[in-house]
């Protein structure tokens, strides 16, 4: 496959940024999207190092910076906006699981970073998602030290609840929910953690404190409010549903009412 790529280039956080257009050739339909990006980068590195091209006025801005790591859809590191959709045109996958067979020979593909006030750009397609860590540090845990805990089977948990907790715990923290939300809200991310722990007896003990602390931190860090457009659910690579946002709202409201 031969493709035209329009890629967002931005030298650093202060740079204004712009699109650049590149051509890539002979891409295998079985290659992943990030393998295609590797090929683009090999090409850009070579061009930047080619004296003939440089003499002709070719100004390469070097390889495109993009985040990636596990390349199997679980670490949550990859984060591209592809043709206007987080993680590209397929559903329920991360960018690293997107394969080139989803595109056609001759296509033009636009590639951008997550765009949200909560995720400042570091370089090109790489953003800073440290805000997610901060939200979880505000209360996304159960307060137990290592050791001195009861036997794992001491407290039975209904299978349905454990399964539902697992549904929410599948969040990979990629940030697609924020990136796709017109309000830049992190509600689905926060809800996934709050809901997952609220469903378990171990997590109930401090459920109220957790919901309040995490929501307060989310607001403090400049994430927007939820207006129920459900775009987050649509783009979540792990299909985490807005029913968890409903549970977060219940947890939050009942906690506030008790204040």
């Amino acid at each position: 496959m031969d493709l035209t790529l329009k890629v967002w280039r931005q030298k650093n956080a202060k740079d204004k940024g712009h699109f650049e257009t590149y051509q890539v050739k002979n891409i295998s339909p079985d290659s992943s999207f990030l393998e295609m990006m590797d090929i683009l980068n090999e090409q850009l590195i070579k061009e930047g190092n080619d004296p003939v091209a440089i003499n002709k006025g070719c100004k390469s801005s070097g390889p495109v910076a993009f985040d990636h790591d596990c390349r199997e859809g679980i670490c949550g590191m990859c984060s591209l906006y592809i043709n206007g959709r987080p993680h590209g045109p397929d559903n329920e996958i991360t960018t690293c699981q997107l394969h080139m067979r989803k595109f056609k020979d001759g296509d033009t593909i636009t590639i951008e970073p997550w765009r949200s006030a909560g995720f400042p750009i570091i370089k090109d397609l790489v953003v800073n998602r440290g805000a997610f860590d901060q939200i979880l540090q505000a209360g996304g845990f159960i307060s137990v030290n290592t050791g001195g805990v009861p036997d794992a089977n001491a407290i039975p948990i209904p299978k349905k609840k454990a399964d539902e907790s697992m549904d929410a715990a599948a969040c990979v923290g990629c940030g697609a929910c924020v990136a796709t939300c017109k309000n830049g809200s992190a509600m689905l991310f926060v809800a996934a953690r709050v809901s997952s722990l609220a469903l378990l007896p171990q997590g109930r003990v401090e459920a109220a404190r957790r919901a309040k602390a995490m929501v307060a931190k989310m607001d403090e860090l400049g994430f927007g409010a939820c207006t129920n457009t459900r775009a987050c659910e649509m783009e979540c690579p792990k299909h985490i549903t807005v029913s968890h946002i409903a549970r977060l709202n219940r947890e939050f409201l009942s906690a506030k009412l008790k204040d």
């Binding site: 596990c70 670490c75 440290g130 979880l136 089977n153 039975p156 599948a170 923290g173 997952s196 722990l197």
Partner: protein, 647 residues
Amino acid sequence: MAEKLISKIPEGPLAEKWTNHKAHIRVVSPANKRKLEIIVVGTGLGGASAAATLGELGYNVKVFCISDSPRRAHSIAAQGGINAAKNYQNDNDSVYRLFYDTIKGGDYRSREANVYRLAEVSNLIIDQCVAQGVPFARDYGGLLDNRSFGGAQVSRTFYARGQTGQQLLLGAYASLNRAISKGQVKSYPRHEMLDLVMINGEAKGIIARNLVTGEIERHGAHAVVLATGGYGNVFFLSTNAMNSNGSAAWQCYKKGAFFGNPCFAQIHPTCIPVHGDQQSKLTLMSESLRNDGRIWVPKKKEDVEKLRKKQIKASQIPEEDRDYYLERRYPAFGNLVPRDVASRAAKERCDAGFGVNETGLAVFLDFKTAIERLGKDVITARYGNLFQMYEKITDVNPYEEPMMIYPAIHYTMGGLWVDYNLQTTIPGLYAIGEANFSDHGGNRLGASALMQGLADGYFILPYTIGDYLAGKIQVPKTDINDPAFDEAEKKVRERINRLFSIKGKETVDSFHKRLGHIMWEYVGMARNEAGLKKAITEIRELREEFWKNVYVPGEENEFNQEIEKALRVADFMEMGELMALDALNRFESCGGHFREEMQTEDGETKRDDENYMYVSAWEYKQGAEPELHKEPLKYEFIKVATRNYKD
């Protein structure tokens, strides 16, 4: 130098060693813990659990990771499960049985005392994780469910769908977040350790590069804990994450920490086969699939030909024409033989011409029988996300056609040599999880990496490091202006500058790929003397070429992924050579290390216990061949036998 290899294994009966040891090692009082600083490098299961626990205990902890968040560490990708000797299934499991299976699975090349301790603390891990809110799979009665993994005849594996590693890591990460919020731990994401700093022979800090700004930073401490994972990416194509690397451990090796059993690398039998030259990494299909999946190739060559030409589908080949070769060769364990055995058996069939895809390097993993027996819904509940992952990558629906799989590099049992306290040969430097060599011998059993990472981080290191730090309570904070820091920083800067200044013609990745080809060809699933010697020569040539002809674009003081990779690949080129050297020295086959010269008539591994029942611990020598030290392995409590999975 032999006195450096003191394993510090406690005396006494096996089952009492850890208890006695704990009772006799020193502890640090809460008031003194507040005065002590510890650096933890890496935030996978080992690093995150250690940093959180040490923080809770009251030490001042700094934790470093190369990703944008501690949660990205590659432990997150572990799929199948975690072993523990809970015996919840009443199938006669016990600490002893888990210990025995692990020693046997490792082909009698690990320490009895370490492995017993691992089995002993395994149960505490499950309790801890449940208390943290890890949503393990449960039965309708509300109690925890289990499944089976390779090398075991009991069901002792706890799991959270096909993403157990993720859930355990999120548990440890949550504890870490709690410790960070309380100010007990300070987190440094997007930081890479580039050197270890030693003062008077003790580990006292690190030099790290801020990956966002490119700044070189100095961090001091009273002790350093390395939890940086394995070095499987030497092979370029592996199931490791793209950024997983062995550089931090390698710098410690070059500062004097011995490297244990470098040639012991695990090749996982069930990975998605290579699709072509553009491939950047390999994807694992969990071992748990072998609970219900059956592995086969056709019996007839003509069926193989038709499959390769896509004239027939696998599902059209009748039952009697299928060779379920694992069930045929290993009736007692069947499809659940350990990974090294399953990998070699796949290679044997493919070498014999029965590989089922165009490249001839694939076998089938089939769920037909299980779907008929249990129904599609049960299979979806058990493996749904894995089936989805497979379909996304290959565009084939595994409910209808069998999966195609082939072995790939997955894990490294070798790592920094550590004593029973998990301390390396450098005082004050500890190594935990995959970064050390200690518990898996020649082959790690499935669902045991998660167990080891968390055992080390939650329950072992936090005790044993106290024994060392108890002697440091009067020692002031490390001065980062000490000449040792100047020296280490200068070397790091020189190395970075040198890489930029080469301005050669080839990219970093192209060298990494070439290294990977050499490693897979000669230091992969089957090794022999001529091949290993050839590998050493070729790696040396490649390394020389790298330092003359690599091109690293961009600047030092910026976010620059190419310089990150260049530094790592430069180290991989040295690690690859040590792996080959160790494999050449070990003239026996054991676990994942298969020397073609040493095999039985039916192609099984042939150990040489008389000459090789030792841990090889390599010492770095500047400008010379590394020196081999041997730690003899003594089996006092179990009878060493030939591994048998047939009956």
